[in-house]
Structure formats: structure tokens, C-alpha cells
């Protein structure tokens, strides 16, 4: 065997081994230099598989390195992140649909307004955010919306078309148009009347003598002033009367005593009764009290 043949076979096998190793590493790890790992956990049924992209704010920064099925209903997901990218600590991990056929990616979304300075370190666990609606949910929602729309359309068909609603609507529109025309005519007439009234008012206003009006207003002002003075005096009189009445209620003065002293009342009644009996006795026996001496 020629030496040259051995060399060519050796070169071919060596290059094949290198191509095999480099190719497998590139496909499996995304390159010859591996990124740093981050971990997260999702519920079952996310359609995740190795190699799917990891997005940070929509930019591809790595890939799903491993998906471990746990018996407790969760998936332990290992993310491989390129070393040039850093994930803010405020980020949440969600599984996001990226196509119509169940393709998904792991989306890392930083909190709006949160600090971007603190980042996850290698081996940290990114908390999972609330799951985003997938294509199935969107389709189900669209389906329910479609059903509701179908019901509305059917009801409109029944009410508007079959039951003559459209015809009624047309006649209502025609009636409204007629009514509007009549209203327009009425308004036109009212407008004419108003114009005539305003013209009459202007004529009356022009006919008024302003000098008489001024003197009348002056007289009214004087009368008003006098009435103000009278009111002030009445107010003073009412105040004084209130004062007198208060003093009477307090039993001050003779009149107050008369109003409030019950003993005086009884004395006066007794006096009246005594006077009454005295008068009676005088009438009976006048001579007892009256002696007329002429001389």
C-alpha cells in the first residue's frame, strides 16, 4: 500500500471526526462556547422541547437546553443563555406561542419600570409568569365570539328581516322625515312671529320717554329710602317691646309683680271679697258706717 493512500485515508477520517464533533456541538449547544444556565419551572403541557428559542424582550438570547418532566405536574426547564446577554432580575418567564402550529418559545419579560441593573446570575431560577393565551385559547375565544355573533346575526335576521322590522324601520324613517318637515314649517312660522314681536318691542322701546322713567325711578328710590327708615324704627320699637315683655316675664316693676306674684293676686282677691262683703254689709246696714250729721 502506498504511503500516500494512508495519508489520504487518515486525513479523510480525521476531518470527518472533527466535522462530526463540531457539528453535533453546534447543533446541541448552539455553538462551541456554551452559555450560562438559568432555570425555570412551568406547568405540564407547554409543548416545550430542547432547542426552542429563549427571547428577552423579543430578542433571541439562547435556547431551551433541557426539559425535565416532574411527577408533581411541573416541568423543570433549563435555559442556556448566551454569555453576552444578561437577564434583569425583575424578569418573568412565560411560554409564548410563536406560530400557528404549536411552536413556542420561552419569553423572559422584564417588569416595566423595574430596575435593569440587577441581573440573574448563572444557575438562578427565573420565576414563571402567568401563562399567556395560546393558539388554542385564542381559537376557542374566537369560536365563542363567532357563536355569539352568529346568534346576534340570527336574531337580527328574525327580528329585522323576517318579522318586518326593516320595513317598520323604513316607515319610521319616512315618518321622521315628514315630522321633521312639519317641525321645520312650524319653526319657520314661529320664527316669523318672533321676528314680528321683536320688531314691535323695538318700536315700543323707542316710544318710551326716558325722562319720565328717570323721575319715576328717582321717586321709587326715595320711597324705598323712607321705607328703610320706617323699617328701622319698627325694628327699634320691636326691640324695646321685647325688652319690656322680658322684664314683665321676669317680674320686674309693678306690672311685672302684678303678672307674676300669685300672693298679691290672692291678696287682691281677698281684698275684693272683703270689699264685696263690706259693700253688702254697707247696703244692709248703712247706718253702721254712714252717720250723717247735719248739725
Amino acid at each position: 500500500m502506498k504511503r500516500r493512500d494512508e495519508v489520504s485515508v487518515g486525513i479523510l477520517i480525521t476531518v470527518a471526526v472533527v466535522v462530526l464533533l463540531v457539528g453535533v456541538l453546534w447543533l446541541a449547544r448552539g455553538g462551541l462556547t456554551s452559555g450560562y444556565p438559568l432555570y425555570t419551572r412551568f406547568a405540564w403541557g407547554q409543548n416545550l422541547k430542547q432547542g426552542q428559542p429563549v427571547l428577552l424582550a423579543g430578542v433571541n438570547i439562547g435556547y431551551v437546553d433541557d426539559v425535565e418532566l416532574r411527577p408533581d405536574g411541573f416541568l423543570n426547564v433549563t435555559l442556556s443563555i448566551d454569555k453576552q446577554y444578561h437577564v434583569p432580575r425583575t424578569s418573568k418567564a412565560t411560554v409564548r406561542a410563536v406560530g400557528f402550529f404549536g411552536d413556542v418559545a420561552v419569553a423572559l419579560t422584564p417588569r416595566l419600570g423595574g430596575s435593569l441593573a440587577e441581573v440573574f446570575a448563572s444557575g438562578d431560577t427565573v420565576p414563571a409568569g402567568p401563562p399567556e393565551p395560546g393558539v388554542a385559547e385564542i381559537m376557542a375565544h374566537a369560536d365563542s365570539t363567532s357563536v355569539a355573533l352568529n346568534k346576534i346575526t340570527h336574531a337580527m335576521q328574525v327580528e329585522v328581516v323576517d318579522a318586518g322590522g326593516l320595513r317598520d324601520l323604513r316607515s319610521a324613517i319616512a315618518s321622521t322625515a315628514t315630522l321633521a318637515a312639519e317641525m321645520h314649517a312650524v319653526l319657520q312660522a314661529q320664527s316669523d312671529n318672533l321676528t314680528a314681536t321683536l320688531a314691535s318691542y323695538r318700536r315700543v322701546a323707542d316710544a318710551v320717554d326716558t325722562g319720565v322713567v328717570d323721575s319715576t325711578l328717582s321717586g321709587l328710590r326715595e320711597t324705598s329710602r323712607h321705607m328703610s327708615l320706617a323699617a328701622a324704627r319698627l325694628d327699634t320699637g320691636a326691640t324695646q317691646l321685647n325688652d319690656i315683655l322680658a322684664r314683665l316675664r321676669a317680674g320686674q316693676g309693678t306690672a311685672g309683680q302684678l303678672l307674676t306674684d300669685t300672693l298679691l293676686y290672692r291678696n287682691l282677691r281677698n281684698t275684693a271679697a272683703s270689699l264685696d262683703s263690706l259693700l253688702t254689709d254697707i247696703k244692709k246696714n248703712p247706718g253702721r258706717y254712714i252717720s250723717v250729721h247735719i248739725f
Binding site: 433571541n60 435556547y63 406560530g99
Partner: protein, 283 residues
Amino acid sequence: MTHFPHHPRPRDTDTFPVMQRSGIHVFRRIARAVVGTFRRVGAWSYFVRDIGRAFSEPATYGPETLRQMKTIGVDSFPLTVIVAAFIGSVIALQTRYQMFPGVQMSLVGLATRQMVILELGPLLTGLVLAGRVGARMTAEIGTMRVTEQIDALETLAYDPIAFLILPRLLAAVMMLPVLTVFANAVGIGSGYLMGVYATGISASDFKEGLRLGFGTFQVVYSLLKATMFGGAISFFSSYEGYIAEAGAEGVGRSTATAVVITSVAILVLDALTAFLLAPYLQS
């Protein structure tokens, strides 16, 4: 032939009416085909046994194995690469133009990788080498058979299996995976170039598809198939040459038979491998 009075001598077929004679011929052909198949399987088994025995003579097959590795591997490299390049680029092109709006373009990369690595890389390499290398093996060994060179080897106490068959078998088993590695790499590379530069898929989309759901077992599966195809090519081609009948016509018939049997065997092995191992390819 002993004649037994209780068992009358069977009538000649020609004495039967035409319809019965035709039926007898049909059944006779079927019987010959079945018996011939079993005979061939039996002969293959003996050939395998002889190959197994030949492993005990490394001094005989060792140097020749290296020469066959050059013939099978290095000399077939350009053809393999050209075929893989065209196949990879055509896969990417066809897949791209089957995508309707809304479908991720990364699927082009995924489809290219899966079709090249799992199926077309090893399969087309095997089929191409069945024509190029297998036919050559059959013709070489068949010519040696009809020119009695193999008999001469036996006369010189050389084991012809160890000297002629085993080196080709080992070389093919070792070099088919090597060529398949190149076929896979070139196929994916040409698919990438076609997808990115000819159909406008972004490089990141294509790369994302290439990595999507990749497992190392996919490469192992590809190389395992290539190894089996290499074994099938060398085994059937060598066998057909080894049993070639006298004359140029015999060598030609053996060569044609070898190419047909090898191609069918490659396809059967491909289907069998997929049936047995494809469930393990799911990532």
C-alpha cells in the same frame, strides 16, 4: 430409479392437457423461487460463517483493508459531496416554497436537518456507493473468480475470504459513516446557503430551525444506518462476485444482480431501522 409397484411412475408433464400443464408450470416456478430464496439465504449464512473465520487472519486482511478504505472512502468523497450538496439545497428550496403565510420560516432549517441527517444523507450515500463501489467490487471479485485467480489463492494457502472479502467489508463498514458525516454536513450547509441566499430566509431563522429539537441520537441513528448500509453493500456485492459464473456474461449478470440486491437491501434496512428506532428519535 427404483420402481415401486404400489406407486405408479408419475406421468410426464407434457402428457397433461394444456391448462393443467400451465398450472403445473406456475407452481413449479413458485416452488423453485421459494427453494432458491432459501438456498440463497443458506449460502449467505455460510458466507457469513466464512467471513467470521477469516477474522482470525489479520495479517492477510489488514493491509488490504487500508487500500480498500482509500478506494471506497477517499475516491468516493467527491461524488458523495456533490450528491449531498444538491440534495440539501433542493430540500431547503422545496420546503421553503411549500410554506404558506403564517408558518415559521425556521421550519425550513428543521426540515432540512431532519431529512438530511435522518434519511437522505445515509440513504443516498448508500445508494450512490452501491452503484459505484458495489458494482466495482462484484466485477473485481467476479473477474478473479472466472479467471481462476481465487482458485490460485486457495492453491497458495491464502484464504480468499480473508484476502478479498473481509477487507472490503471492513473498509465499507468504516468508510460509509465517514462519508455520511460529510454528506450530512454538506447537505445542511448547502441547504443553509440555498435557504438564506436564494430564498430570503433569515440566517437566524434557519439556525433556530437547525437547533430545534436536536438530539445527539439523531446523529447516532444516521451513522448506524450508514454502517449497516456499508455492510450490506460490501457483503452482497462481494458475495455475488464470489459466486460469479464463468464468462463475461456471468460477471455482468452478477454485477447487475449485486446492484439490485444491494439497493433493495439498503431500502429494507432503512425501513427496518426507522421502524425499530424512529420512536426513540422524538425529543
